[in-house]
């Protein structure tokens, strides 16, 4: 280290200190550029909030990280996970060369060997068993470009719709909910609403831990505006609970009647917006249209008292919650896995939308029904990019022949290559793998052997069939079963776009070269495709921009128009919120209303008297659904008296492939635990830190107890992160009939001291 460098840091430190009190020290500004370190704009690799990050590079090594002050989402703040994110690049568990399984053991191979093997195996399977014997399982952490390439290879070239991804396990119900209620996927508003609302309605979300930066914004806003109310419906007393004005604790899986009862109170006490309902709302029961009066009749059964009994809560609280919702000028609902990961996930989503539609709290600043996403690019790459078995890029659906033709045209493949029937959704896909119907699978950037519900059921399939895993880290639960493991470039080592919760697409810069022989996933897929004989279709992709530029042509004219979000623009700006129909368009704050280019383009007669027009619906009306209240798939009973629920912690992420490599984070939370209510603990003679056995109909798990009043009596909470304490051997793989999303959040368990 040179004296100059130290002097430089000193003058920087002085300049920074002076800047903090609004003073500019003479002569310090120029020196700021003398450092050899350069800062690069990127997006956080963890949750779906989409925080901006600046990565500091010196000598081709990432050495520093800071929150991007110019980013509107996090304004320079980060959570503790992200604070250590750059160190994950240099994790000891980074995979740096291709591996091929020989005699049950992974041995290093060259790229050529590995890709030739995969290509020949895939071609062989395709020829002998048909294209549907192959499948692609992607990720909400893959870049849009990566998902797009896989989509093109499997759908457009191989010819199967067996393209799904882990967002099926987290966001599918929200997609279903948005589509059913509003006709188009993804939220109407953005994070901007947080600082404009009068009431936060948080359902099934532990925002403080799962989306810390959203929570920080929410808290800071409430601290400045004490009149802002926060209502929480969640069976667990999470850290989010601390800021609640009212917290309703329904039995896990029994929150539907609570929301119906709230709707009833809103109607009965006159909090509804008659004008809004008349002009832009339709009513329906499960499958046919009904009238508003029929909806009211349906709600008769859901008096607060009746709902309170079903959910085991206090009827007064339901009335209070409804009144708070009704009295607030604007309201913003937020939810995440607590609603989505349920066999009635779509319905639960609909019921939240109902409250907003009935009171007209939509389409105005501060009011929104806002789903929080779990993964950084679940919205972008998978929901928008068509990474699920029934959808195509640009919010298109597989079932629509025009949609298929449009996509096939851009891909340069025959339209009939893309099958008309949706492929297999995640659980069905792994079931087929286990049955041997799917004989080859390509897993990209995800860890299904750990993250699937009832995971152990699907391990034999992964072991027996030809499994290719493209990963940055080794080993993981899934790579153990892989026949070929391909080393993928990690965040910071590749360029691409992430689309976060608020419809914002943000560009990530490539800061350093990939470790070892690791390569960018999109190019791995390109080269695999070429080896499989699709040179004509794939040889043209030479840069990330090539892929993105092609992808955005597919969004032209759709509700998620990204035509204006070119690489040139994205590199400069802190993301763009679609629709962005042209390069001079600033992005859209609110959809379906004035300011949304699609709304503005509507003929005047359609807009007549309507401040919102839901153009995804034939009549432009959003739907209020009379969904019957239904409990979880596996209710508790005498034999399995506990409701088991799972979730995230602040310090860790998913299956620990990333956060598990950071000693500081492991120090904060070194191992899993089962949260048990003190009352239950006393009955069963369990003390804090005791080993307990949690058993469900699918498996059992020995795990240390954490006796704490967070879960209510009769409920157990286990975080999902650890392979050694894999809670997914317990969870149920029953899925929502609409969204096919599994019910991670509720299953019946029994508990005893080990």
């Amino acid at each position: 280290m040179t004296v100059n460098r130290r002097d430089f840091i000193k003058s920087t430190a002085a300049a920074m200190a002076a800047a903090s009190i609004g003073v500019t020290l003479p002569g310090t500004e120029r020196k700021l550029f003398a450092d050899t370190m350069t800062w690069h704009k990127t997006v956080c690799r963890y949750c779906g909030v989409g925080c901006g990050i600046m990565l500091g590079k010196r000598d081709n090594k990432v050495v520093a990280i800071k929150g991007d002050k110019e980013n509107t989402i996090n304004q320079g703040h980060l959570c503790v996970k992200a604070f250590f994110l750059h160190r994950v690049i240099y994790a000891k568990t980074r995979l740096t060369q291709p591996l091929i399984k020989k005699n049950g053991k992974h041995v290093p191979a060259t790229w050529d060997e590995a890709l030739t093997l995969v290509a020949s195996k895939f071609n062989e399977i395709r020829q002998t068993h048909g294209p549907d014997a192959l499948a692609f399982y992607g990720s909400g952490q893959a870049e849009t470009e990566e998902t797009y390439m896989a989509n093109k290879l499997f759908r457009g070239c191989i010819g199967t719709n067996n393209v799904d991804g882990n967002p099926r396990l987290c966001m599918a119900s929200a997609v279903g909910g948005y589509l059913a209620s509003f006709g188009k996927d993804e939220p109407i508003g953005t994070y901007e609403d947080i600082e404009k609302t009068d009431l936060f309605f948080l359902v099934g979300t532990n925002t403080a831990e799962a989306h810390p930066i959203v929570f920080k914004r929410l808290v800071e806003y409430k601290n400045r505006n004490p009149q802002v109310k926060i209502v929480i419906i969640d069976p667990r007393k999470t850290p989010t609970d601390q800021i609640a004005d009212l917290h309703i604790f329904p039995q896990p899986g029994y929150d539907l009647p609570v929301m119906h009862a709230m709707a009833k109170v809103l109607i009965d006490e006159g909090y509804i917006d008659e004008d809004y309902i008349q002009n832009q709302v339709a009513f329906a029961d499960n499958d046919k249209a009904i009238t508003f009066d029929e909806f009211k009749t349906f709600l008769e059964a859901y008096t607060p008292e009746a709902a309170a009994k079903m959910a085991n809560v206090d009827a007064k609280d339901i009335v209070k919650a409804a009144r708070l919702f009704g009295q607030a000028k604007t309201a913003m609902s937020m939810w995440t896995m607590g609603l989505n990961q349920r066999t009635r996930g779509v319905w639960a989503n609909n019921l939240v939308h109902n409250l907003h539609l009935l009171t007209g709290k939509l389409g105005v600043p501060g009011s929104d029904s806002f789903s929080l996403t779990g993964q950084p690019n679940a919205c972008g790459g998978v929901r928008e990019g068509g990474g699920l078995s029934h959808i195509l890029p640009g919010h298109r659906v597989v079932g629509n022949a025009d949609h298929r033709a449009a996509v096939a045209k851009v891909w340069g493949v025959p339209a009939e290559r893309i099958p008309a029937a949706p492929g297999k959704h995640t659980v069905a896909m792994f079931e087929a793998l286990t049955k041997g119907e799917i004989k080859g699978m390509y897993v990209l950037c995800t860890n299904p052997a750990h993250s699937l519900p009832n995971a152990s059921k699907y391990w034999p399939g992964m072991r027996d069939q030809f499994l290719v895993v493209a990963e940055s880290f080794y080993p993981s639960a899934t790579t153990d079963y892989a026949d070929v493991v391909l080393p993928a470039a990690f965040w910071g080592e590749k360029e691409g776009v992430y689309g976060c919760t608020e419809r914002r697409s943000q560009h990530m810069e490539k800061v350093v070269e990939p470790m070892g022989e690791a390569r960018w996933d999109a190019f791995i897929i390109r080269d695999l495709a070429i080896k499989m004989g699709f040179e004509k279709e794939f040889a043209k992709y030479q840069t990330a921009e090539d892929i993105w530029s092609e992808y955005i042509t597919l969004t032209k004219g759709t509700d998620m128009d990204l035509t204006g979000a070119t690489y040139a623009r994205l590199k400069k700006e802190r993301g763009l919120v679609w629709p962005v129909p042209s390069e001079d368009h600033p992005g859209t704050y609110k959809r379906f209303t004035k300011g949304d280019p699609l709304y503005d383009a509507l003929p005047a007669e359609k807009k007549q008297g309507r401040r919102m027009y839901f153009y995804g619906k034939p009549d432009g009306r959003a739907t209020v659904f009379a969904r019957p209240a239904k409990g979880p798939e596996e209710p508790v009973d005498a034999e399995y008296p506990f409701a088991l629920t799972t979730g995230r912690l602040l310090e860790h992420w998913h299956t620990l492939t990333m956060t598990g490599t950071i000693p500081e984070l492991n120090r904060a939370v070194p191992k899993a635990f089962a949260e048990i209510n003190p009352e239950d603990a006393r009955k069963l003679g369990i003390a804090d830190h005791d080993l307990v056995v949690v058993e469900t109909r699918r498996g059992k798990l020995e795990i240390p107890a954490r006796v704490i009043d967070r879960p209510m009596a009769g409920t157990i909470f286990i975080p999902m992160h650890w392979r050694e304490w894999m809670v997914n051997v317990l969870t149920i793989d029953a899925v929502d009939p609409g969204s096919k999303e599994p019910e991670y959040k509720v299953c019946a368990a029994k508990l005893r001291k080990a």
Partner: protein, 84 residues
């Protein structure tokens, strides 16, 4: 070896005398008095522990100092060491 940019808040009575006392610390560099009661200074320390100790020491020992508020801390070197 962390370097910290700090604001030393004084009571504003005799900033010259505070500055004089600060000169006695060999790893403290001052960058003038601003806005009447804020001294911009840089601490150049061997360890974060020393950094903290220095801040405490100044708060306690130097007359007229109301508080030491870090605005920027550079840990790069320490972090590199940790990585190695």
């Amino acid at each position: 070896m962390p370097i910290a940019g700090v604001i030393i808040q004084t009571d504003g009575n005799d900033n010259g005398q505070v500055l004089e006392q600060l000169q006695a610390f060999k790893n403290v560099y001052t960058y003038g008095v601003h806005k009447g009661n804020s001294i911009v200074a840089v601490f150049d320390c061997e360890s974060s522990k020393e950094l903290k100790g220095l801040a405490d020491q100044i708060t306690e020992q130097v007359q007229g100092v109301m508080g030491v508020y870090p605005a920027y801390v550079n840990y790069e070197d320490e972090m590199e060491q940790a990585q190695e």
